[in-house]
Subunit: 351 residues, 2 copies
Amino acid sequence: MALDDRKKQVLQAIVDDYVTTYEPVGSKALIERHDFTVSSATLRNEMAELERMGYIEKPHTSAGRIPSDKGYREYVNSLLKVDTLTEEEREEITDRVTDSVNEVTDLLRNATNALSEKTGYISLAMTPRFKDSYLSQLKILMIEPGKALVVVVLSAGVVKDRLVRIPNFITDAQMFDISTAVEHALSGMPLDEITLVTVASSLKGSKIPESLLNQVIFEAYTAIKQAERLDMYLEGEHRMLSLPDFHELSRARDLLGTLSKDGLVAGYVNEMESSKAQSGSKDTYMVRIGQEIALEGLSDCSFVTTTYNVGDTLSGNIGVIGPKRMEYSKVISQINFVRKVVNDEIRKLTE
Amino acid sequence: MALDDRKKQVLQAIVDDYVTTYEPVGSKALIERHDFTVSSATLRNEMAELERMGYIEKPHTSAGRIPSDKGYREYVNSLLKVDTLTEEEREEITDRVTDSVNEVTDLLRNATNALSEKTGYISLAMTPRFKDSYLSQLKILMIEPGKALVVVVLSAGVVKDRLVRIPNFITDAQMFDISTAVEHALSGMPLDEITLVTVASSLKGSKIPESLLNQVIFEAYTAIKQAERLDMYLEGEHRMLSLPDFHELSRARDLLGTLSKDGLVAGYVNEMESSKAQSGSKDTYMVRIGQEIALEGLSDCSFVTTTYNVGDTLSGNIGVIGPKRMEYSKVISQINFVRKVVNDEIRKLTE
DNA sequence: ATTAGCACTCAACACTTTCGAGTGCCAAAT
DNA sequence: ATTTGGCACTCGAAAGTGTTGAGTGCTAAT
């Protein structure tokens, strides 16, 4: 059932040609562009065989072949040689990604920008999954009567905050008490163990009448939960319109429509990640091809993802979405390098 | 030079028909769909006249007429009757815009979402212009050695913050001194009078060696300037792909390409706004049509904007971008209502 | 001023033809 | 047992050809 050497060669040639031309490739074209030692007739036989095995398919009877999902999969798994970037490319990426970075979010935004422009496809990055994180500090800062800023510092030094409205009559001093009480009770606690009840019970001994606290408690809780939320940066949707793959408007519409649905892609990536963790996969990158992507509207696309780390426990994803016919070797080398730069930079930020 | 009544009627009918059908409208079709008391031949004469005057044009010799930019302009200026929203629509918009709002930014995000979905076009909202704002409070909160959060509170109660890196050896107490010194010196100062020099001089009398302060000064300054930055929320790009107007892929590409250029549209809206302020225009909304929009890639579009207010001095914009052939009356009524809801809600937030 | 009528225009559509790159298969060659 | 040249066949894409119909402008009659 495994492919012999020549079949591999043929498949590789077909994918390579199809990626560059977006035209079904026939036996004759194949001979012309590559130096096979056999004739076109032999290739025809090989191609017929490959088709029977499901690696390639014909758009219609009298056309050349295009790779099937399975064909791309084989290509990515065993035929692909990953590009090496030139020194200039490395430098440019490094410069762009590390440009005026103060927080992880800056970094992610830069990374998506650079990746999208360099690849010519869509790029995305997700904020770290904070589920495995714990609360390091919590400060409530009075801004003016009735308004306060809840600052949540998570392990790994990530800071999130949220402006909240509180009862007007709570004073600076009272708020300070509340703040220290909550922080004392919750700091060090894993984020997913924090519930409305934990927050409330942290204020049991407080001198302030419980009835006044409800809103504060709720807002503090919401702020913590909001810090947990996955945000996603997305860049370069418009680039897809330049690709012939999306000349058929309905495809572009489906793709962009799906991408615009808030949280849908983020949720999917997150799921993907946890299933990967289960299966114990060790690769630095991951490729999903066509139908393998369980998202309506992305079945004509491929999705390359990689994982960056924040500290020892936290991680997030960076990805590229392009046509199935994407330049895998370039994309993979670029995303891998971006991942490295991001990891290095995060280390600097959180050292 | 002004249009007589019948010409106005004809122009209005042409725009109305073209907006709904996206097909050049001819004399016969006009008669069929509207009850004119004259024959098609008369309309032909009127249409020839309207064409000579520049209000309508022919895509080709034997086709019907479509409105020119000038025609749309006339339509918007004097022919348009603005829709009134149904009670359900009002309710839906109010609900969506005011859903879980803590800050102005939440509100703007909600507003763009609602507007884009309700109109079916692209919607955008810009954070308020803070140039006329002044600094109300500035707090620097130590997070851990080497890391601090600069919290900037502007007039009108808008809060922005930024995580910064500072020299490791600055202590909590020192930072507190710095923070109060800077706040004392700068609070009440108009944002655009704050420069690196003003910030630096606020720390003249401080006990901390000047050499250590440079980074803190710079970061605080950057944080303030960042608070001034105009952010823009954009929603619904993908909806344009469903409109026949953008079936020609190159148009969609141009449009989305321009919109994706960071700051370009925001800068333009800002400019527009200040020129409007100069000319003393009092309308609650403003319409830019086709070539009137000085942005490459938007010349097939129209741009409806309105202004919301934060407190007495601050303002920002909300807008809708659609095809020239947009349903002006609906869009205008919707954007006007959104403006009202946003204004009311901001008043509640900042009261 | 309005209108009926007519000759004219031209995009859109349907239909045909041609072309060529592609295929599968078979019989001969290695 | 492969490989290969050859050949008949397929079928989409491109180019050419009518036909149709909604549109126009113009003129002469109302």
